[in-house]
Structure formats: structure tokens, C-alpha cells
């Protein structure tokens, strides 16, 4: 256990000092929340100006009241249609007709008011609306899923790459001459991969909670950790005795194919969401996939060691 912890810590240090690793982990962590934050800043700075509505003098007060309730600027003009054509107002109405040179959503909103006041039997309702806060949280969860997929692929590549690269550089050979079981260096790399990527994933989820009040963040986190742990285990088991210079492509292709297939399986068979990777894209509670994913590390390390022994 002591050796495992030391080797794991050394691998974590190496990961965190590798510029490419740090860059690859940092950008998706901040991609979602930063994009959202920048969008909010943009909207705050460059928000759509309050809508001006041109109306003729003496227009039905009921319409004016509703316009004012929407905080639209009412522009009284003898010729509302001309006001739109001249660009003095983006929308206009005389109580019977709606003119618009702006977004359809504004025209529809104005038409809705006019129809309402005139007692129309039907009305248009714009479907594109700013979602309510609870809906934003769910959308944040949807945004997390592709990020989780990315971290899962990272996990597979990190686990495979850390073994293959160290084998080519003879680092793994030196570690294998330590008085420990063959599976220890492999398990150390799996643990380091899971630690580094789960931390980054946790920060990602946390930022989504802070910026978008992400829905069910704990379940998202646990499903992600399960997928990371399982993908890293898959990578470790698949790389076996291969190295970067020889034989990396085949396990990499097989691993990518497998994880993509497992995610697709989860989309097709919703009930299998309790499995790690498979459950990444659905709403199954996260504890089971995380637990199963974390349990896969030791057997994967054993398979890795068995394959190494067989190839040496």
C-alpha cells in the first residue's frame, strides 16, 4: 500500500507538471462556465434596447396599458407604419395591423396583445423564450454531459499513455524491478488518472452550479467519476504490454470504439444507466455507476499485469 501511494503521488505530480495535460484539463473545466459567464456579461453590456412601439394617437387604452406593462416604449405617431419604415420604431400597430422590422418574436408578442384586446379567437405565442431559472439548471446539466464524455476519453488516453510512454522511456522497467507485485505500477497510474481528472471534473460541475445553478450536481459528478474510473480501467487493461513506438494505435482504437459504444448503449437502453460510461448520458442516480467504476481499477490493473507478464 505504501508503494502504491508513493507511485500514485509521483504520477499525479508528473501529470500536473505536464503542460499539455494541464492545458487539456483546464480548458474543458472552464469552457462551459466561462462561456456562460461571458454570454451573461455580453448580454449585460450589449443588451437589446427596450423595444419602442409606434402607435397612432387615440389607440385603445387597453393596448397601451399592456405595452407599458411589458416596459416597451410607446411612441405616438400619426403614421405608425411609416415610423417602422423610417426606423424610428422596430414595431408598430394601429390596433388592427402589426408592422415589424425586428425579430419575429417581438412582432408575435405585439400581435398577441392586439389579438387579446380585440377578443380574437386565437393568438400567436412566441415559443422562443428565456427559460425560467429551474429550466436553466437542467440545461446546465445537459451541457455537462458532453464535457463528461470528454473527460472520459481523457481518462482512457491518460491511462494508456502513461503506461505506453513510461514503457518506451524505460521508467516502467525500473518500477517493475521494485519489490512489489506487477500490478502496482499499473494501479498507481489508474489512481493518478482518476484523481487528477475527477478533481478537474468536480471543479467543472462546481462552476456549473455557481454560474447556472446546475440541476442534480452530485449525481452528475458521480456519473462522471464513474465514467472516468471505468474508462481509465479500460485503457489500462487494453494497453497491456504495448508501447507508444509499437502497438499503441490498436488499443487506442479499440478503447475509443468501446467507450463510444458503451455511451451509445446507454442512450438506447435507458435502464442500463446504473453502469459506468453507459449511464453518462442519462439521469440514473450517480452512486451506483461511480461505485462500479471505482471497483474496476484493481481488476484492470491485474489484467494489465497479466498481459505484461505474458508479453515479456
Amino acid at each position: 500500500m505504501r508503494v502504491l501511494l508513493y507511485l500514485t503521488w509521483a504520477t499525479v505530480l508528473r501529470f500536473t507538471r505536464e503542460n499539455r495535460v494541464v492545458r487539456s484539463v483546464v480548458w474543458p473545466t472552464f469552457l462551459g462556465p466561462v462561456t456562460v459567464s461571458l454570454t451573461l456579461v455580453f448580454l449585460a453590456v450589449y443588451r437589446t434596447p427596450t423595444l419602442a412601439v409606434a402607435i397612432p394617437p387615440g389607440l385603445d387604452d387597453a393596448i397601451v396599458v399592456q405595452l407599458e406593462q411589458k416596459e416597451w416604449v410607446v411612441l405616438v405617431d400619426d403614421d405608425p407604419e411609416q415610423a417602422v419604415l423610417d426606423g424610428r420604431a422596430p414595431v408598430a400597430t394601429d390596433g388592427a395591423t402589426v408592422w415589424s422590422s425586428t425579430l419575429m418574436v417581438n412582432a408575435l408578442a405585439l400581435e398577441e396583445i392586439v389579438r387579446d384586446v380585440r377578443g380574437s379567437g386565437w393568438r400567436m405565442t412566441p415559443l422562443v423564450q428565456v427559460p425560467p431559472p429551474d429550466r436553466i439548471g437542467i440545461m446546465a446539466g445537459h451541457s455537462l454531459r458532453p464535457l463528461g464524455f470528454l473527460y472520459m476519453l481523457y481518462a482512457m488516453v491518460f491511462a494508456m499513455g502513461s503506461v505506453a510512454r513510461d514503457r518506451d522511456a524505460s521508467i516502467l522497467d525500473v518500477e517493475r524491478t521494485l519489490p512489489v507485485a506487477e500490478w502496482v505500477p499499473g494501479l498507481a497510474r489508474w489512481m493518478a488518472t482518476v484523481l487528477v481528472l475527477s478533481t478537474a471534473w468536480g471543479v467543472t460541475v462546481l462552476l456549473m452550479v455557481v454560474t447556472m445553478n446546475c440541476y442534480q450536481p452530485v449525481d452528475h459528478f458521480m456519473r462522471g467519476v464513474g465514467a472516468i474510473a471505468a474508462a481509465a480501467a479500460l485503457g489500462l487493461a487494453l494497453i497491456g504490454g504495448a508501447g507508444l513506438k509499437q502497438g499503441f494505435s490498436a488499443p487506442f482504437a479499440a478503447g475509443t470504439f468501446l467507450v463510444a459504444g458503451l455511451v451509445s448503449t446507454g442512450l438506447a437502453f435507458w435502464r442500463l444507466g446504473f453502469l459506468p460510461i453507459v449511464g453518462l448520458m442519462n439521469n440514473h442516480p450517480g452512486l451506483t455507476p461511480m461505485s462500479i467504476g471505482l471497483l474496476l481499477g484493481p481488476p484492470a490493473a491485474w489484467v494489465y499485469a497479466w498481459r505484461v507478464r505474458r508479453s515479456s
Binding site: 505504501r2 505536464e18 522511456a169 521508467i171 522497467d173 524491478t177 519489490p179 512489489v180 507485485a181 515479456s312
Partner: protein, 251 residues
């Protein structure tokens, strides 16, 4: 009397290839005593590295036996590993860790008493203190070699396996490494030194074993091997011996 650091008997190692099994080592036997440097010499592909990898428990022999410090590596590989250190031809150093971190890591992993003090002593002894905090990836070949030796010696193993330890080093670097080897011999370690550079081998080894096509074709002190071949120097002796091993011990 304690067991010799390294005893190899009838070692056989075969590899499977597309063209069938190839015997890399075919019935090799030798022994390295405490306080002795044994030069394992041979041309490229002779089986030197394969032999060292079998000794280091990195490759599984197909036949024969290996004892490290009296421990059979086949039945108790973990205890055998406690008694050896393997220095591969490549440095095998993590580029992002510093020499101090690397040596300290191995001191901790090997369960050495007072790992921090032991690390500092070794770094100082090998002249690596001045660059102990520089990432290994930024070190010269000579500096890396010192770190590698410090890492190998941190648990004071009775058996030391050195694969081409002076490969790629300049003259001062080679001299430093050979000096370290002499010191370790004086400390009582049994050392296997694999090399194809006869001149430097001659300077440090007590006995040599010349391997060609997986077989031991000559063994003894340098003087004995020269006498056996009638050659004037080790280079000529080497050529004469390797030329004599014309039949490969393959299947």
C-alpha cells in the same frame, strides 16, 4: 558464508516471432561474487540485454535458474527484487520530476531508513546536489546517469545490473561512472556490467563473459581470455570469439 549476489544456471530465453521461436539466450551460466564486477560482453543482439532483463525479473526465462543473493527469482521474485537494482541503457527518469524527488521516491518505496538523509548523502556522493532541483528532462546525459545510479543505489542492493552504463557519455562522464562502479565493487556489491566498449570494460571488470548468439563463448579474467584466444588485446579477442560462435542456438 553468504550466497553470491548473482548465480545464473543454464538460462534459456526464447521469443515468439512471426517466423517461429527465436532463442535469444541459449543455456547461459555464470556467477558473480560479492565485490566483483562481471563484464557481460557481446555484439549487438548477442543476448546481453535479454540476460539482464531476465536477471531483473523483467523477462520470464524459458529454462534454467537465477538466484539473486541466494533467492530463487522464479519462486520468490519480490525478495529477489529487494536484492537487486537494474540500470537500463535508457535513463528511465521521469522528465518532470527532479533528481531529488526521484531518488527520494525510490528511497521511500524501497522502505529505506531516513529516506531524506539517504537521498541527500547519495546525491552529494554522486555530485548531483547542484542540479538536484532541476527537472530530469533538462539534465545532460551525464547528469542523468548520476541520478540513475543514485536511484539504483538508494537501497544498497547486493546485486547491481548495469546495461550499457556509459552509453552516450563524454569522456569525463564515462570516467565518473567507472569510478562509481569501482566504489560499489569496493562496497562489496556484485555487479554485472553489459557493454560492447572493450576499452572501458577492461578498466573496471574482474572477469568477463563473452556472449555471442545467446551462448557464453569465453569466460575468465581479461588475461585468461586473452591467453585463450592468443589475441593482443580485448578487441582482437572479442572479434576472434564472436567469429567462432557461428552456430546460433536457435530452434
Amino acid at each position: 558464508m553468504s550466497a553470491p549476489p548473482i548465480v545464473v544456471r543454464d538460462l534459456v530465453k526464447r521469443y515468439q516471432t512471426r517466423n517461429g521461436p527465436v532463442t535469444a539466450v541459449g543455456g547461459l551460466s555464470f556467477e558473480v561474487r560479492a565485490g566483483e564486477v562481471y563484464g557481460l560482453l557481446g555484439p549487438n543482439g548477442a543476448g546481453k540485454t535479454t540476460t539482464l532483463r531476465c536477471l531483473a525479473t523483467l523477462a520470464e526465462p524459458n529454462g534454467g535458474s537465477i538466484h539473486i543473493g541466494g533467492i530463487d527469482r522464479a519462486t520468490d521474485p519480490l525478495r529477489a527484487r529487494e536484492r537487486l537494482a537494474y540500470v537500463p541503457a535508457e535513463a528511465g527518469l521521469p522528465e518532470r520530476l527532479t533528481p531529488r524527488e526521484v531518488v527520494r521516491l525510490f528511497a521511500n518505496v524501497q522502505g529505506v531508513d531516513q529516506p531524506a538523509e539517504r537521498t541527500e548523502r547519495l546525491l552529494a556522493k554522486l555530485g548531483a546536489t547542484s542540479f538536484a532541483n532541476t527537472p530530469c528532462g533538462d539534465l545532460s546525459t551525464g547528469m542523468k546517469r548520476r541520478v540513475v545510479l543514485a536511484r539504483a543505489l538508494v537501497h544498497e542492493p547486493p546485486a547491481l545490473l548495469l546495461d550499457e552504463p556509459t552509453d552516450g557519455l563524454d569522456v569525463p562522464g564515462r570516467r565518473d561512472v567507472l569510478e562509481v562502479i569501482r566504489e560499489q565493487r569496493a562496497a562489496g556489491r556484485g555487479i554485472v556490467l553489459s557493454s560492447h566498449i572493450m576499452g572501458e570494460v577492461e578498466k573496471v571488470v574482474d572477469r568477463i563473459g563473452v556472449v555471442a548468439k545467446g551462448r557464453l563463448v569465453a569466460e575468465g579474467t581479461v588475461a585468461e581470455v586473452l591467453a585463450q584466444t592468443g589475441a593482443a588485446d580485448l578487441d582482437d579477442a572479442f572479434i576472434a570469439l564472436v567469429g567462432e560462435a557461428d552456430e546460433p542456438p536457435s530452434e
